[in-house]
Structure formats: C-alpha cells, structure tokens
Symmetry: none
Subunit: 226 residues, 2 copies
Amino acid sequence: MSNTSILLAEDDPNLGMLLSKFLRAKGFSCTLAVDGEIAYQEFTNNAYDFVILDVMMPKKDGFAVAKDIRGIDKETPILFLTAKSMKEDKLKGFELGADDYLTKPFSMDELIARVNAILKRTNTKEENHLYPIHHYLFDYNTRILSFQGNEQKLTTKECELLKILAQNIGKEVDRNDLLKAVWGDDNYFNGRSMDVYITKLRKYLNQDEKVEIVNIHGKGFKLMVK
Amino acid sequence: MSNTSILLAEDDPNLGMLLSKFLRAKGFSCTLAVDGEIAYQEFTNNAYDFVILDVMMPKKDGFAVAKDIRGIDKETPILFLTAKSMKEDKLKGFELGADDYLTKPFSMDELIARVNAILKRTNTKEENHLYPIHHYLFDYNTRILSFQGNEQKLTTKECELLKILAQNIGKEVDRNDLLKAVWGDDNYFNGRSMDVYITKLRKYLNQDEKVEIVNIHGKGFKLMVK
DNA sequence: ATTCTCTGTTAAAGAAAGTTAAATAATTCC
DNA sequence: GGAATTATTTAACTTTCTTTAACAGAGAAT
C-alpha cells in the first residue's frame, strides 16, 4: 500500500493542526477540513482512503457528514471523534456505518493505533470474486450462481471447482491441477468425486445453451462459452 | 495488572534459557518454546499476554507462527527477534501484525524496554473491543450485541466465538483454530458444542439479512457481510 | 472388433454440520 | 448452604455435503 490519504474534519484549529501534523509525521497524507460542509465537499472532490470526523462541528455535524458519505460510498473507513462517551452517540455512529470511535481526550498514539487497526481490518477483507459466465453470474464470496434472477447456492467443493473453471473460460484446465487445487491430492477416488461434481455443475449450468463444460479426454476440462 | 505472561519462542537453548530467566527475574512469567510448532501449540493452549518470536526456527519459523497466531488473535502483542537487520524481514513482520522488532545482538535491557513500551501502549488504550458487523454492533467488553437499539447479552462462549469471527469478517476461520482458541482443545465433543453455539449466534444475527455465518465444509466458518 | 482406460451419471453410503431438547455444570441469589 | 437461575455440554435426530459404488458409454489402443 502506498500513501494512505486521510480526510480529517475538526473545527478546533489547534487540535486540527496538531492532529494533521501528527498524522503526516506518521507517514499518512492528511487534509484538514474545518467544518462538516467543507469536509463533505472535500470528500466528493478527492479520493480518500480514510475519514476522521469530529462529531460536533459547525454547519454540519459529524453524523450528518458520515450519512452523506455513506450515501455515495460504503467502503471508506470512518472514525468518529467525540467529546463525551455518550452511548447513544456511539450507537448512532455505528448505525451510520462508522468503523470506530474515539473519545476525547485521547493520545496521538491511540489514534494511530486505531487507524492502523481499522486499515488492517478493512484491507484484509476479501475482494469481490465475481465471475460472469455468459448469462450466468457466479459470486464466489456469497457462493451463489445466479441466472436471470434465480439463484443457486453452491457447496464448498462446487465453488472451488467452478471458480477455477471460471477463471479459465475457454482454456483447458488440467485434470490433475484441478484435483490438486480443490482436493489437495489427485488420486483416483478424488478424481471420481470430481467427475460427480462436474455432472452437478453441468446441471446448474444447463439453463444457458451457450455455456458448457467440455472434457478433453485424458487431459482435463474446459468451461466454454459458445 | 497482575503477572504478565510471556511466550518466548527461541530455538537456541542457551539464549532461550538466558532470556526466559531474565524475563522471570524482571517479574514476568515466561514460557520457553524450543520451536515454532511448540510455540503455536503453547499459544493455543494457554493464555499469554505477550509473544516473543525468533524469526529463524526449525519446523516453523517466526513469521509462520505469527501468521497462525494472528489467524485467531489480533490483539496479543508480538515482538520479533532476528539475526540480521534485513529490511524485507522487518516489513514482512509488520505486515503479519508484529508490534516491534529487535535485531540480534541486543541487550537484555533493550528487550525489557521494548516489551514494557509495547505493553504500555497496548494496555493504556483500554482496548475498546467494538466490532461493527454491518448493522450490528458487537461490544466485547460489555458483551452486548446490539441491533437498532435492541441489545442481546452474550455468554462467555458466545462472546469468544463471535469475537474471532468478527475479527475475520469475510475470511474463513479454521474450525480447529476456533476450537483451540475458545475451548482450548479441538476434540469431537467440543466441536459439537461449538456447532450448537454457531446455531445460537446465527439466531442472534438473523435480523440483518446481509449478515451470515457460513460453513466451509470440512474447513471452518466465515462471518460474512453480503 | 475387442479390450482397456477414461468419463458420465445415478443412487447409496458415509461424514460433517444444523437444530432442538434434555442433562449437567457453574453462578447467583436468597 | 441450598434453591433458583443461567451457561454449557451431551444426546438424539435431521439435513446437507461429500465420497464411494455400480453401471453405462465414449474414445483410444491393440
């Protein structure tokens, strides 16, 4: 990851400058917005990897900014700063999609620790594994294979198998490679098991005439779109 | 805080004994593991407040141990010991969630200083274990899982289980790792017990359509947000 | 053509996980 | 300390997933 850019919305100029300097010293790039409206404008105009919002701000409070940001972006982590540890505030913040919450006064190290913790957490989140197979759509994460609205839930083995085939549409995948990737071992019995799964996948995929899993005798399988 | 227990993984018996004796003399309780595998086993079986890992060890190196530990625990501080000051090693260690890094040779006092510094940092921030799970909010400290105002008090086992799952949203958590982390032992009966708890957690989490605990057959579970 | 291996398919067996209720263990509260 | 409450485990039964078995057909080799 290169340089993480943080948008900091804090109306107190002393604290704002202090925090932004500190964040820059820690290797982040940091932009300071002095009220909620400016913060939201700033967010829409530039790409930020992280947002820190003071809850109490003039013109537009932190919650309102968060709500607007979440209206257009569900991903970017948001951390709230608040003067008092009000429970309702806390809950409200999280309902709006906040990732964490820090009560003033807090130490600089604490802030960094939180920011890093959130970044670690959100970065490790699996990316979208979406595989379009002609008119089908296979979502590896949710394990759903959908075709014109109707959804088929796939099992673990079905998913693993289809994922590899879908990653190689039109290309032959070696039988033993498939076995090793999905079963970990390419012995005879796993091979027979895989054949059963190929049959199952073919059944799921037979709604679309143009989609087919073909066998290359003695070699492997190929998912193809005609 | 009572007695801080340190897990030390060091394959050199001389250095290992020396360090563990020294740490004990400084008021810590210290367990010495002579290789990476034993270290990880030890970690899963007992509660440790701090982990010191030699990078180069037989069977399982320090990085591998750290990776496995972070698979089930994101909190416990990890300090690496390494022979040479390789920059890549350093980076790799930090990516795996290390808290600090010490290059051999180092003085005993230096080690103590680092350990104390990390403990101070991690302890003083009175860790707020708040885990947002889409529209749910799980507070590990108060053991409350809340959803739009209504709160569900969780039991110990429910909490431990949910914590690990929540720390790994979108990522598969190995069944045996979960068992070792929560029950201390991954035998069959604990497994059945865990299945019962998974059912309970699913019931708590079924108010939000987008939140789901999915099973990866023969592997483990995954808490996911669709 | 015959034989052999590889794949296709279906059904049944086996294993893992889901669920509910009852039994046991641990806490809390008088 | 003992009853009541709560937490956890065990048990029993169900469902789902995966493997194995059995048989049939296709393709390659002899």
